[in-house]
């Protein structure tokens, strides 16, 4: 019964989104149909939530008559993994996607009271249209409520052991919040083009949404990277896997969008460029969905290959992107007035920044899609590995850090000469100091030295600018703090990437009981293995004693065999540290009788900085909008009685001003 309720709720979401879609058309305004948009948005959210709760309760009730539950759960699974298993496969994760989509739509409704009605109705109508496509996709090709009747299995297949982890609980929801959140700037861009609201106001309305979804996307990607690091047992944190790239591309476009929007917001230029980036960012989200869910590319992430799904998403992608670009081409205006700015101005640096991000985007796009194109044209199968991406992203990272370091000290239009000198002195004095400090330490990697010194330079200039503003009793705006925190986070992240990828020590060794191996500053002694029985798996645990002078600790790495399905999993043992991680995982047993194992030993300096940096970036994105948005929300609540009094405008929720 419960799955049928869920199914029915999903059908209602479909009907309501179709209803809401009418809001975009001119004639609907004439007949007052646009008044239905707001209730339909709320309804879509409510019914999507009901559908989602139905799926989760089917999991909790071990209802294996539902095909999706039967293939993704098991009675032995702990309750929290039963909940997260709801988004552990294609159908359920897409339902989560829809829930998040309707959540964003409701947020737009709640937080955009001040927008002109026409603009708001257009934006919500576009959101409804996109949601219509999503729900249609779910119902037609990937219904999570499909039943297995009358052949109901007694036991489920089990969730992939890789997914029986905290990572599954947090990574997909966070990533989807970002992925799907980019639909808001997209819908605002289209609404601006349709209603002709392409002026400065558009950028100030869009910026908070772009910031927040970018922050979630950043966190989602970082969580995925951290999960891969501790769960896959290879010690890597980024693999240039097509699906990682699928989330990285919208991130690159969204980052460019944030920077372009800040120029549009402050100076009224790059308007069309911002509109185009808003369209691009969400289009890349859809492209990502296509890559992950169509099965055209394979990776750890790919879902079951089903040509029907791929064809649907591709058609939808074509429709949405084609429609958006056509609207852009027809409706965009070229402004005649021009604004001049010198090379040493914020505008120039932000333009340069956008160039870098677009370049990065082109590289990832090419590296991800070219194997497909190559196979289609020549029939040969190729792969593009990490060396291709690294060849570009190492210099790109350095260029970004260099161009970022003076940015907090620049002014709009033209930076005063004295200020340029000041920034110059700061760089010139700070740089050798760091270089000498670093060279005294024994770091034999130039990339590590460069990323450390440039990263710290960015940190120093941004803190210097904030302290200086405080000292001169100038206003330190929220967006300035947000920008500084995000930039510092980026620098911290790049310090982590640059250092860990060039100074890590990685060794695969053959170890027998009581055998000793050296790694980085540590000495590792293999004490032997233990057998462990758990409810849903059997494990062989390797016990290691690690010592560095007086610092002695134990690490236990496991090789697990899951009882249902028999999947084998490597569970790495990690001693995390702010400045370095010690990472051990068991390879395969070379000789079971004598207890000889292949063992993977990693010493990874600064690897935590990657994720700490990402958290700071996300925090920066949120700082600059959070208070603004909350105040707007409370303002709306306080004003509501006023709206109710004014019954001449029956839209109620939609009242613009």
């Amino acid at each position: 019964m419960i799955p049928e309720i869920g199914h029915f709720a999903l059908v209602l979401v479909l009907a309501l989104s179709a209803l809401g879609f009418f809001g975009v058309f001119q004639f609907s305004q004439k007949y007052g149909l646009h008044e239905l948009v707001a209730p339909s948005v709320v309804g879509q959210f409510v019914f999507a939530a009901i559908a989602f709760v139905c799926l989760v309760s089917s999991f909790l009730a071990d209802d294996f008559s539902v095909e999706y539950v039967a293939s993704h759960s098991n009675t032995l699974l702990p309750w929290y993994y039963k909940i997260s298993a709801a988004w552990g496969g294609h159908e359920g994760s897409f339902l989560l996607w829809i829930l998040i989509m309707t959540g964003w739509m409701t947020a737009v409704l709640a937080f955009s009271k001040d927008l002109p009605t026409a603009f708001q109705v257009s934006a919500l109508g576009i959101l409804c249209a996109i949601n219509l496509g999503f729900v249609l996709f779910s119902l037609l090709t990937s219904n999570p409520f499909e039943r297995l009747i009358p052949f109901t299995p007694n036991e489920g297949v089990d969730l992939n052991p890789l997914l029986q982890d905290f990572g599954l609980i947090v990574h997909p929801p966070m990533l989807y919040l970002g992925y799907v959140g980019l639909v808001v700037p997209f819908s605002f861009a289209l609404a601006a083009l349709i209603t002709g609201e392409q002026d400065l106001r558009w950028s100030s309305w869009t910026k908070p949404w772009a910031n927040v979804s970018w922050a979630f996307l950043t966190l989602g990607i970082a969580l995925g990277s951290w999960w891969a690091y501790y769960e896959l047992g290879w010690g890597g944190w980024w693999f240039w896997d097509p699906v990682e790239n699928a989330s990285f591309m919208p991130w690159l476009a969204a980052t460019a969008l944030l920077h372009s929007l800040s120029v549009t917001n402050q100076r009224g230029i790059f308007k069309n460029w911002s509109l185009l980036l808003a369209i691009t960012a969400f289009s890349l989200s859809l492209l990502g969905a296509f890559i992950v869910r169509s099965g055209v590319l394979t990776s750890v992430h790919s879902f079951a290959v089903d040509p029907e799904r791929g064809a649907f998403i591709l058609a939808f992608l074509g429709l949405v992107v084609g429609g958006a670009l056509a609207t852009f081409a027809v409706r965009t205006r070229v402004d005649e007035f021009s604004v001049s700015y010198s090379i040493l101005s914020k505008e120039s640096f932000l333009l340069l920044n956008n160039g870098f991000w677009i370049f990065g985007l082109l590289i990832v796009l090419w590296g991800t899609l070219s194997p497909l194109a190559y196979e289609a044209v020549t029939g040969a199968k190729i792969s593009v590995g990490a060396p291709f991406f690294n060849a570009f992203f190492v210099p790109l990272g350095i260029a970004l850090l260099i161009s970022m370091s003076p940015v907090s000290m620049l002014s709009w239009k033209r930076t005063p000469r004295s200020r340029v000198k000041e920034a110059g002195y700061l760089c010139v004095t700070f740089f050798p100091v760091v270089l000498i400090l670093l060279l005294l330490q024994v770091i034999d990697s130039y990339t590590a030295v460069i990323s450390l010194s440039l990263g710290f330079l960015v940190v120093v200039t941004h803190i210097y600018s904030i302290v200086e503003r405080l000292r001169k009793k100038q206003e330190v705006t929220r967006s300035f703090v947000g920008m500084s925190v995000a930039h510092i986070g980026f620098a911290v992240c790049l310090i982590g990437i640059g250092t860990t990828s060039t100074t890590s020590v990685e060794r695969d060794v053959r170890m027998e009981a009581q055998g000793i191996a050296d790694i980085g500053p540590y000495e590792v002694r293999f004490l032997g293995t233990k057998e462990i029985e758990e409810v849903n798996y059997h494990a062989t645990q390797g016990v290691f004693l690690i010592s560095e002078k007086s610092d002695v600790f134990e690490l236990r790495a496991e090789k697990r065999r899951y009882k249902s399905g028999g999947a084998i999993m490597t569970e790495a043992a990690i001693k995390p540290g702010l400045f370095s991680d010690m990472y051990i995982s068991l390879g395969d047993p070379i000789d079971i009788e004598t207890g000889v194992w292949a063992v993977r030993l990693h010493w990874k300096p600064f690897v935590r900085w990657i994720w700490v940096g990402a958290i700071l970036m996300a925090l920066g994105g949120l700082i600059s909008v959070l208070r603004l948005e909350l105040s707007r929300f409370f303002f709306w609540r306080a004003r509501r009685p006023n709206n109710l009094k004014d019954r001449s405008d029956k839209t109620g929720l939609l009242t613009g001003s």
Partner: protein
């Protein structure tokens, strides 16, 4: 030509040049870093280049995996189960799902003696998954060896939702 037009022309010229340089760099790096996939029969017939980074995929032949006693080097034979074999040597830790009789993909360099030295070995991600490079091969092998199904289409892989 007025000043505004001149400025616009400069911007367009600059961005076109930048784009051209960027694309040139991308294509050059791409040519140097792409790995072409070869099935065992192409390697055996000398169609795969020697001394270049390539990928070779096939089934690990039963009983062919030999581990060294003193270090982590291992050797095995990749086959399409139709008489075309490639000897592969590798040093390091093999993936969890590496087993005899399973499909894998090895990345590395082919020597002039026809032996393949792998620097990476990729296995299936879970029990039901098959690398697409191998699926054609597997279906062919499947038709030949009835009863040992290599691609089980009745089960959908349970993999993670990004």
């Amino acid at each position: 030509m007025n000043v505004k037009r001149k400025q616009r022309l400069q911007v367009i010229l600059f961005s076109m040049t930048a784009l051209a340089v960027a694309l040139y760099a991308i294509f050059t790096a791409f040519e140097q870093n792409m790995n072409i996939f070869y099935p065992p029969h192409e390697v055996k017939n000398g169609l795969a280049p020697v001394g270049q980074n390539i990928r070779v995929g096939g089934m690990v032949l039963d009983g062919s995996v030999k581990r060294a006693k003193s270090d982590l080097s291992v050797s095995f034979i990749l086959s399409d189960l139709q008489g075309n074999d490639v000897a592969v040597s590798y040093s390091g830790i093999l993936p969890d799902l590496f087993r005899e009789g399973q499909g894998i993909v090895a990345e590395g360099v082919l020597g002039s003696d026809g032996a393949f030295v792998a620097n990476t070995v990729l296995a299936k991600h879970d029990e039901n998954y098959m690398p697409p490079e191998l699926s054609d091969l597997a279906i062919a092998a499947d038709q030949k060896a009835v009863g040992t199904s290599l691609v089980d289409k009745s089960l959908s892989p349970n993999i993670f939702g990004d």
